[in-house]
């Protein structure tokens, strides 16, 4: 990562926290520049986009894009733009998921959700425009000089975000409130809803660096395992944390009767499963050597985090 030339020790969470903060700073500058306020009356929709996209999230997806691109010495000006595009897709999905017709959440990261701070119509439009802007950012020469590479990034992001990915996962999640899912179905739902976007963050980093098919496949495996571990850790936090710790309503999944790995097997087995997934994520990075330390540290962080 950018702040140090030395490789960090595996699982070094202090170094990882620094790395994550570095990328967050870079991507926040990038997002700020990519979402300029217009002069006219449609300012309101851009204000809502900025409200939700510049809200101080952890920026895990941009981190994964930048750390994966670093394996191939991609300039940060490219990987931060690609990371910003994935983050826009993530932020749009949070805005729409929080809507009354969906999960109906009033708080997100300790602040009113977009439709509470603005209104429902503005929130729907802000989400739509963030999704659209993500593809426009990837289509720009500043993200990569090769049109073929840019088109490839767009194809990958669209597949991860659309009906075969994140949107499909959210659909399954809404349907799951009315049915009992088994373990396989839960894992599929979560791979679609969160795993694919985390995986594509890594793949996009590799694509920027012209990674070969085998390396891209390993990055995808890493991202999917990380995503699955992340989700179990999230469900554990949901079970344990208080509302004030997370800045959002907790225990909601339990209240809605949604099955999770934690609710099916209890917290102890869930913790073990998350650790196995982290091991699998790390194993997928074996070809990359020391340059992949930030990605290994991210995997360890996933199950150790407190928020």
């Amino acid at each position: 990562m950018s702040h140090t030339g030395a490789a960090s020790a595996p699982g070094d969470s202090l170094t990882f926290a620094d790395d994550l903060r570095d990328v967050a700073k870079g991507v926040n500058v990038c997002l700020d520049a990519l979402l300029p306020l217009p002069m006219g009356g449609e300012k309101r929709v851009v204000e809502a986009m900025r409200y939700s996209a510049l809200d101080g999230g952890k920026r895990l997806r941009p981190f994964l894009a930048v750390a994966s691109a670093d394996l191939f010495d991609v300039p940060h000006v490219q990987s931060l733009r690609a990371g910003a595009a994935v983050e826009m897709v993530h932020c749009y999905s949070l805005i729409h998921d929080d809507l009354p017709a969906m999960d109906d959440d009033d708080l997100r990261r300790g602040r009113p959700t977009c439709h509470k701070a603005f209104d429902e119509a503005t929130a729907i439009l802000a989400g739509d425009a963030l999704l659209t802007r993500a593809f426009s950012v990837l289509s720009d020469e500043a993200t990569h000089p090769s049109g073929d590479t840019r088109a490839r990034l767009i194809a990958a992001l669209a597949e991860a975000a659309g009906a075969e990915g994140m949107v499909g996962g959210q659909m399954l999640d809404l349907l799951a409130e009315q049915s009992d899912l088994g373990e396989g179905e839960i894992e599929r739902l979560q791979a679609l809803k969160t795993g694919k976007l985390l995986a594509v963050s890594c793949q996009i980093g590799g694509m920027l660096g012209q990674a070969d098919a085998a390396a891209l496949e390993d990055l995808k495996t890493y991202g999917l395992c990380l995503g699955a571990a992340f989700q179990i850790a999230d469900d554990l936090l949901d079970l344990e944390a208080t509302e004030s710790d997370l800045g959002k309503a907790t225990g909601k999944d339990g209240a809605a009767g949604k099955a999770t790995f934690v609710s099916l097997h209890g917290p102890e087995r869930a913790r073990k499963r998350a650790k196995t997934l982290v091991d699998q994520a790390v194993a997928a990075l074996s070809r990359f050597g020391e340059t992949a330390e930030p990605l290994r540290a991210a995997a360890a962080f996933t199950v150790d985090r407190r928020s």
Copy 2:
């Protein structure tokens, strides 16, 4: 167009109706193939996408893409895909605009709107996924062999659809319910809300054929003038037509107190203005000669249509 080798006479509305129907057939086949039903539980969101995208609209945007691409002898397999992508963006915007938080419409083209036929959450997700799919279709090599061209199509569509285009126009439209707009502001709103997507349909056709900058500018002018004329014709229809003719609620804009060219200046001046715009649209096509007859006929149709 595909059904005849002979050039049609200017303003020949019968030939135009045939042309439009030909493209609609082609694009419906294309949309059907591009939106396959998955096996899994997220089938519901794809069913909602198909419900709204395969509903028998006029397919004016695909027509413009194909007719503009025909000026440069672009294979229909390419221009129909590009047209299908623009149509997906159009259909997503209708789904979201019809939501209770937006225009709150129960009927669209004579059928229940997407959120009435399914539910609000599914409709939001179906719109999101159609928008995403549009970019995925454009990013695919089947749309154009050159990555640079594909990235260019995506950049143009994203600009026309996002906060600086259609979404910005819808935001202005919602805000307009609370304020009195002047003529200039109404024209700007409508250029954003509908004009830019019609214009980009034409531009995309040209881009597929490697049109030069001047030709693309003329196609844009044609599309924007056509869009402005189309909007005035729409407002005139809204004033005159009965609900059963249009298959949707009419007179809504008047009831919501929204200013239009028609409400500001009356139907007679509006009709004149629409004709002037059609003349400007046709004038922008002067460089193209006889191959542009279908586009000229489309301009004439815009102000003569009954629905």
